[in-house]
Amino acid sequence: MKEKVKHTLSTPSGDKLWKGDKIFIVLMIAIPMLHFALFTLYVNFDSFIMAFQDVDYTAEVNTLKWVGLDNFKKFFTEWGENDLWMRAVINSFGYLPVTVCVMLPLSIFAGYFLYRKIPLSGLYKILFFLPSIISIVVLAIVFRNMFDASIGPINWILENIFKMSKDDIPNWLVDEKYAMWILYLYAIWAGIGYNVVLLFGAMTRVPTEVIESGRLDGVGIFREMFQIFVPIIWPTVSTMIIFGVTTIFTQYIHPMVLTSGNGKTYTIAYLIISKVNQGRLYYSAALGIMLIVIALPMIEFTKWLTGKIYDTVET
């Protein structure tokens, strides 16, 4: 059944590589390699060193000094001083259930119904994907205005249709009780379209023979979805789960553009960025290393786990 593609070192037209080609290839690869060495390897190496250094402001002339684990200790002191860090960790880990348990199933459903060509599915496709082609910052402005106290439609509806008094309506993006939930809502709203399009694309590649034979055997809609579609598109789904886990450690744009951390909406990454902006570079480097120590095993574990659930289905 399967065709094997033969890979040889030759141009598509079959000519053998000549010397000039090799130089060309080496040069072309050299540029990204150089980029990688400078902006990834060097930067990471440097930040590793920075984690154990700090500026000595007490010296006559400001110099760098080795401080051992002081930068790491600072973190635990800060943790004890106020609840900023703890809230940041909780907020960040909150993104995991939001992306994996809420957004992913929603996207699978939406993708599936698009695939089943429900009425107006073309329109839905556009509506779902529209937020993904608009810059996240523009989206955030639109989203923030929806919840704005003076011009936002949501407050207007609550005031004029549900007859709530202006003082009873919370300040959605400032109030500690609501702000983080609104951010999660934004994550779903802004992220779902992208997921739906990816999943829809994966679903269209599911062989129709498999689906048809399933239907002939009388498979219902839910069985079809969970026992045929999900296993076949599992590589796509598992990639999304892994992205969901990395979100815990990398999410900073949402709080940055929507709340600037107000209403206790800091995430781990955004808090580190705010330390960088305060100029506390050496402390931030230590924070970054601590983050890697926690994040890497978690992501590797997720990879291993998602690989266990379904064996990759051969089609």
Partner: protein, 454 residues
């Protein structure tokens, strides 16, 4: 043909790599070029354009090249780090204090201590012209690597027309302030709007003013030195917390929705006449200039943070009004091409004529220098009131030379991660707000004790 395409690709790739490095200063009309890279702030660049023109008039052999950008801070940093002498301007602006210290440590900035001893005009040295409260933050290791750039005034802005219409008086003490609030409220207008959703409602500058005003100059400066945790016990701090609590926790005097406003939203409400006063700074007029065009009948002015004591004096019985200003720095990189000329330009900027020009072109923003001119009636009412505060108040720049402050480990407001206004405004009642204020004082002291010791 194929080979040709490949070579072309390669050539293009190299061209792309090196094209960025090729933009040198080619144009040459025999004049010395003085290049200035500056942060283009909300108040625009007209002040510098005019200053440069005047400088060129008095120095016919010089051409001043200006480069203003809202993101200049990062550009300057990149260029200084890269160290390419061609790209480094003769004068750069620096707004981030940590960067400033970093540059000095790495030797990027020229020591310009001798500039402070040079004559500006009429026998006056530079050190006599610059305000002494604003020289501390540019001084590092007992040397000067920059000069103070902009000053600014902070306090409350008020709706001038509205005040005239109802015959309200500008308050000078907090007692008068709260009485005025009641009066305004009785007319059915919200007394105050503030931006609770961002930047701690712009209250922190005013809080420092209150504290400093109550404590007096000596005790206030003792606080900024942050030598022991005891400075956090100063009565003025507690009173400053309480004043904020009395404002933000009182639903009757704050425009509803203030908790959630960002600074622009709050300023729009103020200009639309929905509230009579707003905590802000002298940048307000230029920041909102576009929006203000829609309200030709609107007129505003500013007053400094009212005194806490009923007699308007500090705790020692001295007359004192305080305004917290901005800093920002102009400096000369050590790799600059025309250092002496750059110094000359900085001196030129500090002459009375140029200082006055700065105020006029920025809609009433002072530089932290001694102004001889006292009549500012040529400015708008807002600019005039700003300059009046500037001339009559003790202008301070909140800054400490304490190493812990420089490294970012300690600030002036410690509890609740420094977000004290947010913490206060979330109180459910005025009484809770007041008790939260004393909680904050105790927490501040505890945290300071850990860091500074007794």
């Amino acid at each position: 043909m194929k080979k040709f395409v490949k070579i072309l690709c390669l050539a293009l790739a190299f061209l792309m790599m090196f094209s960025l490095g090729a933009c040198g200063n080619r144009e040459d009309d025999g004049k010395i070029k003085l290049k200035i890279s500056f942060f283009k702030a909300g108040f625009g660049d007209e002040w510098l354009v005019k200053t440069a023109e005047a400088f060129e008039d008095s120095h016919p052999d010089v051409k001043v090249v200006l480069e203003g950008h809202a993101n200049m801070e990062q550009l300057v940093k990149n260029r200084l780090e890269a160290g390419n002498a061609d790209k480094i301007a003769d004068i750069v602006s620096i707004t981030n204090m940590t960067f400033y210290h970093d540059y000095i440590r790495k030797g990027y900035l020229e020591d310009i201590s001798d500039l402070y001893e040079m004559e500006v005009e009429n026998g006056k040295k530079f050190i006599d012209v610059v305000l002494p409260q604003f020289t501390d933050y540019v001084k590092v290791n007992d040397k000067y690597y920059g000069i103070p750039w902009e000053g600014a005034v902070t306090g409350f802005a008020y709706n001038k027309k509205m005040f005239e219409q109802y015959g309200w008086e500008v308050p000078t003490t907090m007692k008068e302030f709260f009485e005025l609030c009641d009066e305004i409220k009785s007319e059915g207008i919200a007394p105050i709007v503030y931006c609770g959703g961002i930047a701690e409602g712009y209250f922190q500058n005013i809080m420092l003013s209150w504290m400093f005003q109550y404590e007096g100059i000596e005790s206030g400066e003792e606080f900024f030195a942050l030598e022991s945790a005891d400075v956090f016990k100063k009565e003025g701090r507690k009173l400053a917390y309480e004043q904020v609590a009395k404002i933000v926790c009182n639903k009757d005097i704050v425009l509803s929705g203030s908790k959630g406003f960002d600074h622009l939203a709050a300023q729009r409400e103020f200009i639309q006449g929905n509230a009579a006063m707003i905590p802000t700074g002298s940048w307000l007029q230029t920041e909102m200039s576009e929006f203000l065009e829609g309200f030709p009948n609107f007129e505003m002015a500013m007053f400094a943070a009212p005194a806490i004591n009923d007699d308007g004096k500090d705790k020692n019985g001295n007359d004192l009004t305080v305004s917290v200003g901005n800093g920002d720095i102009l400096a000369i990189p050590s790799k600059a091409a025309n250092k002496e000329l750059a110094k000359e330009f900085l001196l030129f900027m500090s002459t009375q004529e140029m200082l006055n020009l700065y105020v006029e072109k920025t809609g009433g923003n002072p530089r932290p220098y001694v102004y001889e001119k006292t009549d500012w009636s040529n400015l708008s009412a807002f600019g005039e009131s700003v300059m009046e505060i500037w001339n009559s108040a003790y202008n301070i720049f909140p800054y400490s030379n304490n190493p812990l402050y420089l490294s970012g480990d300690i600030g002036f407001w410690l509890a609740e991660a420094g977000q004290c206004v947010t913490y206060l405004q979330n109180s459910s009642s005025l009484t809770e707000g007041i008790s939260r204020a004393s909680l904050l004082v105790n927490k501040d002291y505890e945290l300071a004790l850990d860091k500074l010791g007794k």
